[in-house]
């Protein structure tokens, strides 16, 4: 067992974990942060994407011990002051989700994309979320939602 201290969605946790414990299982099974789901076992689907110190990572490919001393943000910590993040709002308004299983990871990946590139065009969005699979939407409304959020976040009228 290894002692870790990690901040998850603003709360500091001290825990003893097996060195092999995946971050996503630490979040889900130990902390009850079940908003982040697991969609595969090969890091292809991106459903488990969270932010580690502000950068998107697939939490199935990070060990819990690697989060020691770091800050993790999940979909459950994305809203602030009771207000949804513009991406959460845009996914709702543009019907960018159906079953919603990929949504937490898709939103966290999109947030990282918009931090790197606040005004991506459609191709840049499509390439930017390549690491996140959705089986329901055909991606079109997801692209629309990310465009809308990018407009709102950079103060430009949504396209």
């Amino acid at each position: 067992m290894t002692r870790i201290r990690a901040t998850v969605d603003g709360v500091v946790y001290d825990d003893d974990v097996e060195p092999r414990l995946l971050l996503v299982h630490y979040l889900r099974d130990r902390l009850g942060r079940t908003g982040t789901p697991v969609g595969c076992d090969t890091s292809n689907c991106g459903a488990c994407t969270v932010h580690l110190d502000g950068k998107a990572v697939k939490s199935c490919s990070v060990l819990a011990v690697q989060a020691d001393g770091h800050e993790v943000t999940t979909i459950q910590g994305l809203a602030s002051d009771g207000q949804w993040h513009p991406l959460q709002k845009a996914f709702h308004e543009r019907h960018a989700l159906q079953c919603g299983y990929c949504t937490p990871g898709m939103i966290m990946a999109a947030a990282d994309l918009l931090r790197d590139n606040p005004n991506p065009d459609e191709d840049a969005i499509r390439e930017g979320i390549e690491g996140n699979l959705c089986r329901c939407t055909g991606y079109q409304h997801i692209v629309d939602a990310i465009q809308q959020a990018s407009g709102e976040m950079s103060g430009v009228t949504a396209r």
Binding site: C45, H92, Q98
Partner: protein
């Protein structure tokens, strides 16, 4: 929004009713009620569920496609840390029963025993051999490795045609054959007689590759037992909580009333969760044996072996026509791969296609035969469209081939043969009566949006200039049968249940409404759409409606969600149940208003007396008065609650015209979709935004079959595309922006005029894309490309056509 303060109770509630919005809810682009929890991570997936003392099950699976199991020793696993129990098939041989197949398609169909845990023999890679139950998921997975199994290899049976050959090794030696069934069907005149009159006969073989549904949420099940009373609550990532409850009772002999099945939030299905799986039975049996809650969650790679696959057919199809392009007859011979066992509706899937090969076309004769074949592979079953995409692909592909044979434009050949809008209702050669449709209108709109003539002109230029990047145009004018299904028809096809759906309306004292539905959504937006239907029918605000589903205790009757049936059957049931509420409320209102029922009008939530505009009661006032029951008419029970069970009178027949333009780089074989236009006619629409989402997702899956996905087995029966690394599910970067539109020809067989949309995009798009790829390559002498049309396949098609050409 009129939010009720919990402290403000019933008798004051009537004062708080907001004026109803006059805009009809049906047809409105309402944002989904489902989304708030999904975008904030407050979802309850099955794998989220935890109980005190819960144990985790892990499954040891066969690494061999076919083998005798001569020894299983689970005892080493029991020595591993955290392990509570471990079992082999022999430990459950007397109580595990056989997984159910509800569709014995012929009286002599071969139905093999299907034990949840293999006892003597394994028949596909992934067949369950033993289980471990441990205190956490890591401990369970670790302990699997210590279980000792001795296998005595038997020959794999991978290829369907080889499986049917004389002296082929048998998947089930006790059945004496690998032929599961042969199902013949004919319609109209004798095919051979009609063929004799034909000027042109076109014959093709198409292969529907095996696909893996890949719902984003892997399957999971949690069973919580209450040993004192013998009750069990089963939480499962399933599309079919009601069917599952019945089937688990039948398989395990646990009395039906002791079982409660809950489908919590379910992350997609596409048919893969329309089943009764070994792990659902095993967790239940182990929970009973140990008296403790048990959880099992599949890993993605495990699911690729253990969750059903789709498609996998070899289609020999022949059309006979006159030289002016008039179709005379159609003959289809199918081989359908069942896999190693029959799952819930495995043998019925190709039969759903039997009625769809003739599609939108008129003809004199139709002959169909399907052979179901056992192989040592993961069982197949329903995958989005289930039988209808396969049929639609074959007919739409061969219509293009017929056009080439005749030197006609492929749209012209279709137009010449389709049922015209003034011919509805039309009984097809396959015996179905299509109630309504307008293929001309959908096609005209699609051609306009697509710019068909301009693209043909560009294609001609590129052909002439030998452009290395060729343009191809693909057409698919599809229809489908959905809204499964009239119970009597299912009976005539030997299906084991009916096709009805149930709804209940609970009018609460405050005038708020609970809609209970037997449909079980997993992404389709039923909560929003059913709220819209009920809001209109009852005249209450959209926000005042709550929809309850997916729990056999709170929604006791249901046939669940698949086959684009939810709206057409379940949504209509909601509408009809609302009508019963209004009928009851009208009697109460008439009494309170001292008028005769016949003098009452009901509109937008208000009962008014004809000629006395001031005498009025809202539905909420009537609900409260009924609850109080102080002054009800003689003989009226104090409840407006109503139930309706809808058994549809016919299938519904959505249709549409899909047009695809691809650019194919003939030097690399790489295909890019340049534009995709579809105009679907799904009748009346409850929520256009939800419909667009359904169409987009369906297109993505259909395009995936055309260009990207294939489950591949090697000669030894190993699934070589056993994870998302090797099985290519398309990303956002692979797919184009779709142009979608609709025409609206209401269904005449239900009061909402709706037809269903869940499968339309998938059914229509695969042939549109492949027709486009082949069209691009016509100048090279290519007349088919096997799916998926990968760069390698396209390049090889060009090369082999060139070789054939030079050999001639």
């Amino acid at each position: 929004m009129s939010e009720i303060d919990p402290g403000a109770v019933a008798l004051e509630a009537a004062d708080q009713i907001s004026e109803p919005d006059a805009t009809p809810e049906v047809g409105r682009r309402r944002l989904r009620k489902e989304d708030a929890k999904l975008v904030t991570g407050q979802t309850q997936w099955t794998d989220n569920i935890q109980f005190a003392g819960m144990l985790h099950m892990a499954v040891l699976r066969s690494p061999m496609a076919h083998a005798k199991v001569t020894r299983v020793d689970v005892s080493p696993a029991l020595q591993q840390p955290g392990v509570i129990a471990a079992y082999s098939g022999r430990d459950f041989a007397d109580e595990q029963g056989s997984l159910p197949c509800a569709w014995p398609v012929t009286p002599d169909m071969k139905l093999p025993a299907h034990p949840p845990l293999a006892v003597d023999e394994v028949r596909y890679v992934g067949d369950a051999v033993a289980v471990v139950v441990a205190r956490d998921r890591y401990a369970a997975a670790d302990a699997l490795e210590s279980i000792e199994v001795d296998y005595e290899p038997l020959p794999a049976v991978v290829d369907m045609e080889a499986a049917l050959a004389d002296n082929a090794p048998l998947v089930h030696s006790d059945l004496g054959t690998n032929r599961c069934f042969t199902w013949p069907f004919t319609g109209g005149d004798d095919y051979d007689a009609v063929k004799a009159k034909a000027d042109v006969v076109v014959t093709r073989r198409f292969v529907q590759q095996r696909l893996i549904p890949t719902a984003m949420e892997p399957r999971a099940v949690v069973v919580a037992p209450l040993p004192a009373s013998g009750e069990f609550t089963v939480y499962s990532a399933t599309q079919i909580p009601h069917v599952l409850k019945l089937m688990l009772a039948m398989v395990t002999a646990i009395p039906e009333q002791k079982l409660r099945v809950i489908a919590p939030d379910v992350g997609g299905g596409f048919g893969s969760k329309l089943n009764v799986y070994a792990e659902e039975v095993l967790t239940l049996l182990i929970a009973r044996r140990l008296g403790r809650p048990i959880k099992w969650t599949e890993s993605r790679s495990e699911g690729y072996q253990a969750t059903i696959h789709g498609r996998d057919q070899i289609q020999d199809i022949e059309v006979a026509a006159t030289k002016d392009g008039t179709l005379l007859g159609l003959k289809v011979e199918l081989l359908a791969d069942m896999g190693a066992y029959l799952q819930l509706v495995t043998p019925g899937v190709p039969l759903l296609g039997a009625f769809m090969f003739n599609a939108i076309y008129k003809m004199q004769a139709y002959s169909f035969t399907c052979h179901g074949v056992f192989t040592t592979k993961t069982p197949t079953d329903a995958y989005r469209g289930a039988g209808r995409p396969e049929a639609t692909f074959a007919i739409e592909r061969i219509m293009d081939e017929l056009a080439v044979e005749l030197g006609m434009d492929p749209m012209e050949v279709r137009r010449k043969n389709w049922i015209t809008h003034d011919e509805f209702p039309f009984t097809t050669v396959a015996g179905l009566t299509y109630d309504s449709g307008n293929y001309e209108a959908a096609t005209a709109r699609a051609m306009e949006l697509f710019g068909y003539d301009a693209l043909r002109a560009e294609q001609a230029k590129r052909r002439e200039s030998n452009d290395p990047v060729q343009l191809g145009i693909g057409i698919s004018t599809f229809t489908e049968m959905c809204g499964l299904a009239p119970s009597r028809v299912l009976g005539s096809l030997s299906y084991g249940a009916g096709g009805w759906e149930a709804a209940s309306i609970r009018m609460l004292p405050t005038g708020k409404v609970e809609v209970v539905t037997g449909s079980s959504p997993h992404g389709q937006g039923h909560v929003t759409a059913w709220s819209q239907i009920a809001a209109d029918a009852l005249g209450v605000p959209f926000e005042d409606v709550e929809v309850i589903h997916g729990d056999t205790r709170s929604s006791p009757m249901g046939m669940d969600t698949y086959g684009s049936r939810s709206l057409v059957v379940g949504g209509v049931a909601v509408h009809k149940a609302c009508e019963k509420v209004i009928d009851k409320a009208k009697r109460v209102a008439a009494h309170l208003l001292e008028a005769s029922e016949g003098d009452l009008d009901f509109n937008a939530g208000r009962f008014t007396v004809k000629g006395s505009p001031d005498a009025a009661l809202s539905i909420q006032e009537v609900a409260l008065a009924t609850f109080a029951a102080h002054n009800l008419p003689e003989g009226i029970e104090p409840s407006l609650n109503s139930d309706f069970v809808m058994d549809p009178e016919n299938f519904s027949f959505p249709h549409g015209t899909h047009l695809c333009a691809v650019e194919v780089d003939t030097e690399t074989g790489f295909t890019t979709i340049r534009s995709y236009v579809c105009v679907d006619d799904i009748g009346k629409v409850i929520n256009p935004t939800i419909v667009e989402g359904q169409v987009h997702g369906g297109l993505a899956q259909g395009i995936a079959q055309a260009l990207y996905e294939e489950a591949v087995y090697d000669a030894d029966g190993n699934l070589t595309t056993g994870s998302l690394v090797d099985y290519y599910v398309p990303t956002a970067a692979d797919l184009p922006r779709f142009t979608t539109d609709r025409t609206e020809t209401p269904a005449t067989t239900n009061p909402l005029g709706v037809k269903g949309v869940g499968e339309a995009g998938t059914i229509a798009s695969t042939p549109a894309v492949v027709n486009a790829v082949v069209d691009a390559l016509r100048p090279f002498g290519v007349n088919d490309v096997a799916m998926p049309c990968s760069p390698q396949r396209v390049w090889q098609a060009i090369r082999s056509a060139a070789n054939e050409g030079s050999a001639r």
